[in-house]
């Protein structure tokens, strides 16, 4: 029997998952909001169903609608991608109860992992370092008192937040006093919950995470680590695998810690354990993400493992195909997140229609895109347009390849952060691997564009005006070329033109 998979997501990750489904010969079902009728994932899937108006709460977060579509279309599996319903134990449970397999861990595991206090307790029991911090239900006075005990700088976070939203850096008691009321109000408006908590800020920390695969029989393997320290506003921007920050003994320890915590919670499927690494080589457990991550691509590039395929296999009840020994990473991989935003104007989001698109290619380049020429970029969802991944034998090769691929990339019609990526990839500190999670915001100074490009822009402007005036007789470039070429023949002194 051919299986049918519903992908409960949109954009690049929906396309990513659909690709593997197609390779496995599965029938595919897409869902879309009213704003996404034109979206690439709709055109990509075998079937597509509208599930509601643009706001996520009315469409991509409507688990009831999505499940209904799965039943109507006869899907046996639902892949949630990342974000939206991927971390929802309720949705996972509803799917499984309705006889549609949720591609992810057991609902109980997701539930357990979403209880941050419980996870911290668990990590402490496993003797992992955790970041000093507070509970999630303190009043203003308690927050201030705890802050003085933990010490500054620290992070003020919205308890209901996530993905880097609702986080502020606090440097002193008085800063905290000023920040609390605004943060509460914003958290209430944004997440519907004003609860805040504090966490020690580790300075010059690096973000290290471990990719895991686990089957229902209790086999757990790691696919190595990723480093995601290049961030803006606490959101990852560039990721790589492996990490330059780990030597082999530290790597072994972190990988082992990740597997242990996953084993303890009975993890099944693909997941990631996140750590912060301080400059002294001490690593702090942050959390377990019970789902596919945006940056899974770099792990795929170095291991050759299709993580989505393994997710679907595990969800179908099959056991892992690899032993730990059979996972043999090769080379280095980088990922740049291509976002519709203006990095030089405070990362303002940009909307519009993709008027022209030219994607890079050639050796060692992978593009995972959710866009195509003609597509409208709407303001309803996140600004991730595409992911550019390069692989090289060494980190250096992966970097120069990424530079080359970024130079090839053209996206017109919306502002993107391609130029920021070009600048980052050209920085010596990035090349040297000397960075931390606040590198971009605190230390990075982009290079000025090349002088000669100004002249190119000026010449284009002047010549277009001149041609408009001169009219038809100069339109014929062929004639001009032939003329110039004849000149060249004379110069070269030979050849009949």
């Amino acid at each position: 029997m051919i299986k049918k998979v519903l992908v409960a997501n949109r954009g690049e990750i929906a396309v990513r998952v659909l690709r593997t489904c197609k390779e496995l010969g599965f029938e595919t079902v897409a869902i879309y909001s009213e704003a996404d009728r034109e979206a690439l994932h709709v055109r990509f899937a075998d079937e597509a169903y509208c599930i509601g108006p643009p706001p996520p709460k009315d469409s991509y977060l409507r688990g009831d609608h999505i499940l209904q579509v799965a039943l109507e279309a006869g899907a046996q599996l639902i892949h949630p991608g990342y974000g939206f319903l991927a971390d929802s134990p309720e949705f996972a449970r509803a799917c499984n109860d309705a006889g549609v397999t949720f591609v992810g861990p057991l609902p109980e595991t997701i539930e357990q992992l979403s209880d941050k206090a419980a996870v911290r307790r668990l990590a402490r029991r496993l003797r992992l370092h955790i970041l000093p911090g507070t509970k999630r239900s303190l009043d203003d006075a308690q927050l201030l008192a705890s802050a003085d005990k933990i010490g500054y700088p620290l992070l003020l976070k919205a308890a209901a937040g996530g993905s880097g939203i609702g986080i502020q850096i606090i440097n002193s008691h008085s800063e905290l006093e000023t920040a609390i009321p605004t943060a509460r109000r914003e958290a209430r408006t944004t997440f519907g919950d004003g609860a805040l908590y504090l966490e020690r800020l580790i300075e010059n920390a690096r973000h290290i995470e471990v990719q895991l695969l686990a089957d229902a029989e209790g086999h757990i393997i790691n696919l190595g680590e990723r480093e995601c320290s290049i961030q803006r506003r606490h959101q990852k921007l560039i990721e790589e695998a492996p990490s330059r920050a780990l030597d082999s003994s530290l790597r072994r320890k972190i990988l082992r810690s990740a597997v242990r915590i996953a084993r303890t919670v009975g993890f099944i499927g693909a997941g990631t354990v996140e750590f912060l690494l301080d400059p002294e080589g001490r690593y702090y457990f942050l959390k377990v993400n019970p789902r596919l991550q945006v940056e899974h691509t770099v792990t795929e590039a170095v291991t050759g493992v299709d993580i989505v395929k393994e997710q679907l296999r595990i969800a179908s009840g099959r056991s892992l195909r690899y032993s730990q020994k059979e996972v043999k990473p090769r080379g280095w991989a980088l990922e740049c997140r291509i976002l519709a935003e203006d990095p030089f104007r405070n990362y303002t989001a940009s909307i519009g229609r993709i008027s022209r698109l030219h994607e890079p290619g050639g050796p060692g380049v992978r593009v995972d895109s959710g866009i195509y020429e003609g597509l409208a970029i709407t303001p309803y969802y996140d600004s991730l347009l595409a992911k550019l991944v390069t692989w090289g034998e060494t980190r250096g090769v992966a970097i120069v390849r990424m530079r080359r691929a970024l130079e090839e990339y053209r996206i017109h019609g919306v502002m993107t952060n391609l130029d920021l990526h070009r600048a980052l990839l050209n920085s010596h500190r990035f090349f040297g691997g000397q960075f931390h999670t606040r590198f971009l915001e605190e230390q990075f100074v982009p290079k000025e564009p090349e002088e000669e490009e100004y002249l190119a822009a000026a010449l284009t402007t002047a010549l277009l005006d001149w041609r408009r005036r001169a009219g038809a007789q100069t339109q014929s470039n062929g004639v001009a070329n032939r003329w110039k070429m004849l000149g060249r023949w004379e110069l070269l002194g030979g050849g009949d033109p």
């Binding site: 706001p55 993905s163 939203i165 109000r185 914003e186 408006t189 944004t190 519709a340 935003e341 990362y347 303002t348 989001a349 940009s350 909307i351 519009g352 008027s355 022209r356 303001p379 309803y380 969802y381 996140d382 600004s383 130079e407 990339y409 053209r410 017109h412 019609g413 502002m415 391609l418 130029d419 070009r422 564009p449 000669e452 490009e453 100004y454 002249l455 190119a456 822009a457 000026a458 010449l459 284009t460 402007t461 002047a462 010549l463 277009l464 005006d465 001149w466 041609r467 005036r469 001169a470 100069t474 470039n477 001009a480 070329n481 110039k484």
Partner: protein, 169 residues
């Protein structure tokens, strides 16, 4: 035809002779601009240096030239070209409107009607594409009216607040 083209603060003197030869700052250059398939897409060779150029309007409707993927604003002066007026004509008087530069949801309104505000104060916070965008007032004043509230969906250009000038002393 003689042009003065200013690109992001740098000015070039460009002359195009009737037979299409190009002189820049009184030096001859071998320039070949090839238009591709009637698209706003060009291949430019400047003394054999190769550039790709794309001419488009930016968010504000101004023409810009994208060279090698990087956008440049260019303004031009020349015979028969109305001098591009880039005067810093700032309205210093009359009410100012705070409007949404992008569609999105209003996350927060930080001021109340009748409240005094100072230049740079955040009037409202807009969420668009998972980003928070702070809308600030450019000068001192008093909030005359607020026409949207937190949680509301806002279209691009929609007015969120009107700020009156401070009464003259």
């Amino acid at each position: 035809m003689r042009y003065q083209v200013t690109v992001e603060g740098r000015t070039f003197d460009i002359e195009v002779t009737p037979d299409g030869q190009v002189w820049v700052d009184n030096q001859p250059l071998h320039v070949d601009l090839e238009s591709i398939d009637g698209l706003p897409l060009y291949s430019l060779l400047v003394d054999h240096r190769s550039y790709d150029a794309h001419v488009e309007k930016n968010e504000n409707g101004d023409q810009q030239v994208v060279v090698a993927g990087r956008p440049y604003r260019a303004t031009m002066q020349g015979e028969n070209i109305p001098t591009t007026q880039v005067t810093q004509h700032q309205k210093d008087e009359g009410p100012s409107e705070i409007s949404a530069p992008l569609p999105g949801w209003l996350v927060d309104v930080r001021v109340a009607e009748g409240e005094s505000v100072g230049a740079g104060d955040v009037v409202a916070v807009l969420e668009s594409m998972k980003m928070h965008l702070e809308l600030r007032t450019a000068r001192d004043g008093v909030v005359r009216s607020i026409s949207a509230s937190a949680g509301q969906v806002i279209s691009q250009g929609e007015i969120i607040a009107v700020i009156d000038d401070l009464p003259r002393a």
